[in-house]
Symmetry: C2
Subunit: 268 residues, 2 copies
């Protein structure tokens, strides 16, 4: 099998040959953002939403977004062709580039852009969640944007794995439901669909946004007890789509009649 | 001038030739930790405290610390010799190394270690602080350890710079004083020295620890108003030592009789 190809700052490279300078601020300080995109049936799913989120995140971090939608669409097509991928997980990483020692950037610094691709693995048929000890700050940029500072999500995932679960559930520091470590959280109760509002340290997922635009959903600040009486709980992200939650902290979660058909219509 | 030398995973390299694989989890997800150390008069200052903190941070992130104190002492000496540095800022970076796509590490993954060095720049004679909009979560690993997920500190610093200040002051999500973006916070009031307790999302600085071990300090949860009546406010870190705070959010801060002599004795 040939080596996978990636695109790094204008060049196509074997994945194993692609590297960041040791002085890159992405590697040293988490100074950057990323997007995880799904390539499917010849295009990036919800590309416009990904681009809008990327631009928002770049702005929040004081970076000029170094790629536009047309360019990303072209690169996505080429990377899937080069790697012979039909259903793929793409990752676009934007770092602040090389900078001086310390927290302050060099204003002349130039962002670095990497696009990589891999065959998408099928999502699990259901997933068990474990509530993390880590609570997200609603004012944290690392919580509100898909930044390279994923440290807390990784730690929450490790906690979950150690407890035999597949994914972590995180609350915000106010004690309200926020979301899973790499996915947004939804639940159905008395026929109404709910999801935590962005004020609860929620990463604005593209699948979440598509659902909110298509079906009635109540957003707000909800305690963990909101899940107890739910008829159905599920998590969403760009790669998995929607996956039902089978258990929370070791207790089975009602599956009811399953994820509503309206959700499948939006995400499938 | 010759190119600076760095040490990366067992090899001495020109700094410009040192790089991380694009698949390194430090660069992709902030999956790693670092230490900033001062080399002075032939040794690393407070090396034992730095090593203890590094080991604690590695453990918190589920990493086996890939370097021990003797090895770090030797490497520190060699990097300063190779770069002809007498008073230097060293940075030791430990990443989780190459891993698969997604949040879960490959358990066989091997951490990557980089040591770099630069001439230490003299600290400013005083510094103006700006209170950040970002509040730290007391349960965040990125707040409690020196992880590569520095995203929020960087954002706070940018806010401060935009407001004409030199450094950001961060509160925790409970509304209590936490610390500066890359330094710990102390103040003197009615002759008593204070600093936020570790429960306030405080990074356990090595200079802070040295002060706590040497002089009486009250630690706890304090609101921002505690600074208003202070006779003296200062920030500390391993590279700067102690620097008086001259202003907070545009208002001059009393300098009183300056930083107490007992602090200089500890840090100088």
């Amino acid at each position: 099998m040939t080596e996978p190809q990636v695109w790094l700052d204008g060049h196509w490279l074997d994945a194993g040959a692609a590297s960041w300078p040791a002085a890159d601020r992405g590697a040293l300080l988490g100074d950057g953002v990323f997007e995880t995109l799904r390539w499917r049936e010849g295009q990036v799913e919800r590309l416009d939403r990904h681009m809008a989120r990327l631009e928002t995140a770049c702005t929040a971090l004081g970076l000029v977004c170094p790629i536009d939608q047309d360019q990303l669409a072209e690169l996505a097509q080429e990377i899937c062709e080069r790697n012979t991928l039909a259903d793929a997980a793409l990752r676009l990483t934007v770092t602040a580039g090389i900078g001086p020692r310390g927290l302050d950037r060099d204003p002349r610094g130039k962002p670095s852009v990497l696009l990589s691709a891999a065959a998408r693995t099928a999502p699990p048929s259901s997933i068990a969640l474990k509530t993390s000890q880590i609570r997200r700050s609603p004012t944290s940029l690392a919580a509100a944007h898909k930044t390279l500072g994923y440290t807390d999500n990784l730690a929450a995932r490790r906690e979950a794995r150690d407890a035999g679960a597949g994914m972590a559930l995180l609350m915000d520091t106010g004690g309200y439901l926020s979301g899973a470590d790499c996915a947004n959280l939804f639940w159905m109760r008395s026929g109404t669909l709910f999801t935590p509002g962005l004020e609860c340290a929620v990463l604005p997922g593209t699948a979440r946004a598509a659902i909110l635009d298509a079906v009635p959903v109540e957003t707000g600040a909800f305690g963990r007890e909101a899940l107890t009486g739910a008829e159905c709980v599920f998590v969403t992200n760009a790669l998995m789509g929607a996956v039902p939650v089978s258990a929370l902290d070791g207790k089975a979660v009602a599956t009811g009649s399953g994820i509503p058909g309206s959700i499948w219509e939006v995400l499938d």
